[in-house]
Subunit: 284 residues, 2 copies
């Protein structure tokens, strides 16, 4: 499992790198970025995963996420994977839609042809990439947090809910909270997993919580001026589900903010501090 | 002098906008971005100008500069202009070089044909855009600071040196300090102003200081791992010139940092605090 370093930049006293590797999960090359703060030799640092939204690669948050300053201060490694397999032979939606196919892997293991050959983002994010991070970076894998934006917020919530105990902290910016109930999710889950909604449950945060999955707590920020709030994100469904299930959750509606990185960057430090508090001590 | 708003995003409690207007200085449409922090109605805020480097538009620093958090805290308006005229009829270098023509206006008023028709970035930045900012934003024009990166660092230093008293604070990231003595500058000043170096003096920070121009002080950060340091930037020439001339200057060489926005963002807050200290009280 060798990784290639595409770029390396000194930033906020640490190192921002971008890497490429041949993924066995997706059968393609995959790209991801990692920020490692300055640290004493031999020490290991907690890891925060950031899963990106539709149309994004690792580059969007790496360039616009404004996380390095806080990660440097808090001593957090920040990992940003891509959002889908890419390259020759990777099928895309016929209509080249932004919400399915390339840039829209939805963090699922596809079962429907032709997507089931490469669209294995669940296995990639849950299994393969963590092994690479553990092997190649000064990462304390007993202290992991996960966060994401929009489709990546969906990814962060569902991956954490499906892997109890793995993540000390889980947060999201403007997540898709109930993909089974909204157009983006119905299209993606139907396309990757087939039309039977009963198999979508593993990839639906609200459905997972209703079925009994629990986290110690979770943090969500949602812009009130987000164009996708009413049709696609429907944050209130998560609030209602958590309330009904007794799942602790801090869900904040932020007046004036939209769906962009101008919103994400505004609350990135808040989220990272929230993660850092929960990642402060090794899990016993 | 009407301006069009292309985009507006709520961020860090303030408003990040991008605007377009028909420029009389350049005879083209020009684009710029402005961040206005949250502020009490009727109050006016100091303004920091940020001039960008080669190949950039307003968008680079707007997306990657990480200035909004500090500007919001410090109450600074941040203005980021484009680096050249653009559009049909604007001549570019025949070779489509990155260091001359589009994206490389060098903040001069060109006198050489065919560039003298549109390449009037000095007039645009010194005269036209400040009037637009004063007329359209809650800007206290008695409290202005100026900063820039690379070619824009050259712009910030020379514009401030040529306009004594206008700027309370002047700083630069990796500036071209002596364009008359380096390939980028010789090509640009020769192309825009003609081959006689005696007319380049107005656009050369070291030459201006040698001729007696002075600022209260100035701040420069330069990455030690910057690929352009030795051939194009030559920071030591500014240090020597300031030393010889008695021009107060804080010039810092930052180990490990390159020429990228990963470097700029790392020291942006430092610079903005430095500006804010000097912009705290209205100039009497």
């Amino acid at each position: 499992m060798s990784i290639e370093t595409i770029s390396s930049n000194h930033s906020f006293g640490g190192t921002q790198t971008v890497h490429k590797h041949a993924s066995s999960a997706t059968g393609t090359d995959m790209t991801f970025s990692v920020f490692v703060p300055e640290h004493a030799p031999g020490t290991k640092l907690p890891v925060v995963w950031y899963l990106s939204g539709l149309t994004c690669t690792h580059a969007n948050v790496t360039e616009k996420g404004e996380y390095r300053r806080a990660c440097a201060e808090l001593g957090l490694i920040f990992v940003a994977p891509d959002t889908s397999p890419r390259g020759e032979g990777v099928p895309d939606d016929d209509a080249a839609a932004y919400d399915f196919g390339l840039g829209a892997g939805f963090y699922v293991d596809a079962t429907e042809a032709p997507f089931n050959q490469h669209y294995k983002m669940r296995s990639y994010i849950e299994n393969e990439l963590p092994e690479l991070i553990a092997a190649n970076f000064p990462a304390d894998m007993t202290r992991q947090g996960i966060m994401g934006h929009s489709m990546g917020g969906h990814g962060a919530l569902t991956i954490s809910l499906r892997n109890p105990g793995r993540f000390c902290s889980t947060s999201a910016f403007a997540p898709i909270v109930a993909p089974s109930q909204v157009p983006w999710g119905q299209k993606a889950l139907g396309g990757y997993l087939g039309p039977d909604p009963s198999v979508w449950v593993d990839y639906d945060a609200c459905a997972l919580i209703e079925r009994g999955a629990r986290l110690p707590d979770l943090l969500v920020d949602q812009g009130a001026a987000d164009n996708f709030l009413i049709e696609q994100l429907r944050t209130h469904l998560l609030a209602q589900t958590c309330e009904a299930a007794g799942q602790p959750a801090t869900i904040r509606i932020q007046p004036g903010y939209d769906h962009s990185y101008y919103f994400i960057a505004s609350f990135m430090e808040d989220h990272l501090r929230w993660h850092a508090e929960r990642l402060a001590e090794p899990k016993g």
